[in-house]
Amino acid sequence: MSAFVWLTILTALRILARNRMRAGLTMLGIVIGVAAVIAMVSIGEGAKQAVQAQIATMGTNVIIIFPGVTSASGVRGSQGSAVTLTVSDAVDLKKRVPLLSDTGWAKRDVMQIVYGNRNWNGTVNGVSPSYLTIRDWSFTSGGSFTQTDVESAARVALIGQTIVGNLFEPGEEPVGAVIRLKNVPFRVIGVLAPKGQSAQGTDQDDVIFIPFSTAERKVFGTSFIGSVGAMFGSTDQVEDLPMAAEQIREVLRARHRLQAEQEDDFTIRTQVDIGKVQEGTSETLTMMLFAIASVSLLVGGIGIMNILLVSVTERTREIGVRMAVGAKRRHIVMQFLIEAMTLSLVGGVLGIILGVTGAKLTTLIAGWPTIISGNVILLAFFFSLVVGLFFGLYPANKASRLNPIEALRYE
């Protein structure tokens, strides 16, 4: 049987080579379908991974609680516009929601930062030390502030890479330098490792952290002491996020004495929620791809079926001869199925080449990240095989049911 299959494949290839034009046109649907799938899945995957990498920069299993009501997309009004969340909320949450491994809080303001004769308008965040661990900030030099710094409202600062780039000479060591925020001198004790863009597209490295206590007492306005711009929590397990969010809501509603009919005066977002919003976009893209691919593969399949039916008619006499010398039904079925699959596979391989090239060109020209996964290529290969098999079935079956005498007489 293997000699039979092998020779049949060779014959199929020869027939294909003989009718290159016809075969090429027949395969076009498959080629385009497969190429579209490969190119777009690669682009989609690239975009998805980029977004996931950005979301990962938020920290690990993070829950964010903003004051006020926030739209579903996660876009919110200016932080701190409502003063409904306080440090004591955050402290109490840690006690009353055991799923939370830690809570932190932050308050921010944009102001001028001066170093020597240089200055820069950047975001200054007053944060609890736990905030830095929840958000997974690490340091390229120096380190975080201590509990003593917090208690004494020490004038110490941690600065991000963008600030370093704008205030310091290349190669200059920022740790130990003194910068001024609203004319208050701060000693730089740590340089933050870069995080790049956030999922919302803001520069996360354009940032300065100072102790929350220092910010309240020495830099920010003194109104609303104890109010925070945002609270942060984290859980040990990602699965715990929804449950923790629900418990936080209950605790906060109770603390804020909200009646049953009143809306929340805060908004809770978990890292998973934020990821979902971003993934929603790539899901739309995936559905679109799926539609394009299905239609192309269907059209390609019908093309193959059509050309095979033509081929069966053209080669009726040949089929008769084969039957006369002893071809059984399964031999004839196999022959045409193999021809169909050869067509669709060659089309599939051309499509894969075209798709991969397209994806690479997209990266090269448009600069979009693309990820060409072996799975997609395997899937495309498999799909073209299935298309050939499925659409070859009818012509092959038709050929195998020919009457040998009539086939031999066919003009």
């Binding site: 039979f4 001869v321 002893g326």
Partner: protein
């Protein structure tokens, strides 16, 4: 031992619309292993219909046909295909070679369906081509061969499986006299040297003369069946 071919009251009835065509009407016939039989008769008398049944390409509407003791009248298509592959070789008037396929590959075809290894297929097909004097033409396509040569490829394809029965329906019908004689000499030799039973349909008396027995068909029945006087002395096969 039973005869190679036994037909008993064989009928073949075609229905075309409301009309009924009785191509064979209760034909009975016995042919022994090793015979060389010519079937003659006017056009439409049912010769090809009979050959198709003898070759297991078709089955009788009524009656019994036994080949080598096997009742072929009620076999399934794949079983018939198996019998054709194992026991029967065909030579057609219009050669019926597969186009754009070399002489060797055409001669290989029955072995291909036997599932032999490629190497065996090649060796045996090449040997068959040698027997019909086509050595050196293995890689020619049908369009690169003369009619007589194409028919010799067809004979090689028929004999490559060493069949017990070779059926030739007007094998010289499309050939000139010289090629016809060459083909007949090959068939004659196969019959003499290998004992292959040959049944040949022809309209030409001098072709029929190669056979040892002549059966005349008329209106789907045997009109006459007799041994011929003799056969021309065989002469070597030309290349």
């Amino acid at each position: 031992m039973s005869a190679l071919i036994q037909c008993e009251d064989v009928w073949k009835i075609y229905r075309v619309g409301d009309m009924e065509v009785q191509a064979l009407r209760g034909l009975s016939l016995t042919i022994e292993q090793g015979e060389f039989v010519a079937i003659m008769g006017s056009s439409g008398s049912g010769k090809s219909t009979l050959m198709n049944i003898l070759g297991c390409l078709d089955q009788p509407t009524k009656g019994r046909y036994r080949l080598n003791g096997i009742e072929a009248s009620n076999l399934k298509p794949d079983q018939l295909a198996g019998i054709r592959n194992q026991q029967i070789g065909f030579v057609f008037q219009s050669f019926n070679l597969i186009p754009r396929t070399s002489a060797l590959e055409n001669a290989q075809l029955p072995l291909f369906y036997r599932g032999l290894s490629l190497k065996e297929q090649r060796t045996q097909a090449a040997a068959a081509l040698r027997r019909v004097g086509l050595q050196g033409r293995e890689h020619h396509y049908p369009t690169q061969l003369s009619g007589g040569q194409q028919q010799r490829v067809a004979i090689a394809r028929a004999l490559v499986t060493s069949p017990s029965l070779l059926l030739a329906d007007e094998p010289t019908g499309n050939l000139d006299t010289q090629s016809s004689q060459e083909i007949m000499r090959i068939l004659d030799q196969l019959n003499r040297d290998e004992g292959i039973t040959i049944i040949l349909v022809t309209h030409e008396v001098d072709i029929a003369a190669y056979a040892a027995r002549e059966i005349v068909i008329k209106d789907g029945q045997v009109l006459s069946d007799h041994l011929t006087k003799g056969r021309p002395t065989p002469s070597p096969v030309g290349g």
